[in-house]
Symmetry: C2
Subunit: 82 residues, 2 copies
């Protein structure tokens, strides 16, 4: 995926996952440095409903495959230590 395009798309994610991909909310996962393919699989699972979460299904519904690839690349590129 394209990290820069992912970063642009990720503005809405920061509310829960942190501006640097480190969540401030214990229920919500850190995404920084996570595995790119894992992130793609989870976003697609939220989009398809295979994985259920009230907030994430809404967030993922409008994402294209390219959006998903770019978001996954972006978060995977972030420093896991924040």
């Amino acid at each position: 995926g394209d990290v820069a395009a992912g970063k642009a798309k990720a503005a809405v994610c920061a509310a829960c996952h942190g501006a640097n991909g480190i969540s401030q909310i214990p229920m919500y996962p850190n995404l920084a440095g996570q595995k790119e393919q894992y992130l793609q699989l989870q976003l697609k699972a939220f989009r398809s409903g295979e994985r259920k979460n009230a907030i994430m299904s809404g967030q993922a519904a409008a994402l294209s495959d390219a959006d998903i690839d770019n978001l996954a690349a972006y978060f995977a590129s972030l420093n896991p230590a924040g």
Copy 2:
């Protein structure tokens, strides 16, 4: 949870999630430094079947609430940068 008890319980997890909680397999997530409550929620979801994964449902089936709390504490305690 109890980090030391979690570490003892986590031996089987290393195969996919890495001995230091950093996965070597792109499909499997890093767990090191992840949010403790998020990890608890996911293990309980795999155990109950609310979240579906062929491997993880088997792994989580035999876990007690204490096991889950200890595993979550252990992985949350690991350095996210490995």
